[in-house]
C-alpha cells in the first residue's frame, strides 16, 4: 500500500507540470492565475499523499489545511486586484 502512495505521488507530480506550461505560456494574466490555481489544488492533494508516505499523517494534514486556506485567500485577493480599473491590465481593445 505504501508503494502505491509513492507511485500516485510521482504521477501527481507529473500532472502538476502540465498547468505550469499554461502558467508560462498563458497569453492573458488570468490564464496564468487559472494555472496557478490548478497547481495549488493539486499540491494540496500531493501533500496529503506525501503525509501518508512519511507515516506522519497528523502533521501533514494540518499543513494541507493551512495551505488550502492561504491559497484560497491568495487567489481571491489576486483576482480582486486584477479586476480593478486603476491598474493598466486591460483586455478590451
Amino acid at each position: 500500500m505504501d508503494s502505491f502512495f509513492l507511485y500516485s505521488a510521482v504521477i501527481l507530480t507529473a500532472i502538476i507540470a502540465v498547468p505550469a506550461y499554461r502558467v508560462l505560456k498563458g497569453p492573458t494574466v488570468f490564464d496564468r492565475l487559472v494555472g496557478t490555481n490548478a497547481i495549488a489544488t493539486k499540491t494540496i492533494v500531493l501533500i496529503c499523499l506525501i503525509g501518508y508516505i512519511f507515516d506522519r499523517i497528523g502533521m501533514f494534514i494540518d499543513i494541507t489545511l493551512a495551505y488550502a486556506i492561504l491559497g484560497f485567500v491568495g487567489s481571491l485577493i489576486i483576482a480582486k486586484y486584477f479586476s480593478s480599473d486603476k491598474i493598466n491590465v486591460r483586455y478590451d481593445d
Partner: protein
C-alpha cells in the same frame, strides 16, 4: 493488502488522479480563458475529493479522518468560489469570451 478498505481506497485514488489529469489536459487544450476555468474548478475539485475520500477510507475512523473531511469540505466550497472570482475579474478587466462572431481572442496570439 487484499482487504476491502485497501481495494476501495485504491479505486478512489486512481479515479481521483484520473480526474486531476483530465483537468490538466483541459487547461492546455481548451481555446479560451473562460472555458479553461471549467477544467480548473470542476474536474480538479472532483479529482481532489475522490483522492481524499480514498485516503479517508484507508485511514478508517480516527481524528485524521475528521481532518481529511474538513479539507475535503473546505476545498469543495473554496475552489468554485475562487474560479468564479477569477472569471468575474477577467470579465471586469474586459476579457471578451470566445463567441463565434467576435474575432479569435488573444489566446491564439
Amino acid at each position: 493488502m487484499t482487504d476491502i478498505t485497501s481495494i476501495l481506497s485504491i479505486i478512489c485514488i486512481v479515479a481521483g488522479i484520473f480526474f486531476l489529469l483530465i483537468g490538466s489536459i483541459g487547461i492546455i487544450r481548451l481555446p479560451d480563458f473562460y472555458s479553461r476555468t471549467h477544467a480548473t474548478s470542476k474536474s480538479d475539485t472532483l479529482g481532489m475529493m475522490l483522492v481524499i475520500l480514498g485516503l479517508m477510507i484507508f485511514e478508517g475512523l480516527t481524528i485524521n479522518t475528521g481532518k481529511l473531511f474538513l479539507i475535503l469540505l473546505f476545498i469543495l466550497l473554496a475552489n468554485p468560489i475562487g474560479a468564479h472570482a477569477l472569471a468575474r475579474a477577467a470579465l471586469n478587466a474586459g476579457l471578451k469570451p470566445l463567441f463565434p462572431d467576435n474575432k479569435k481572442d488573444k489566446t491564439e496570439g
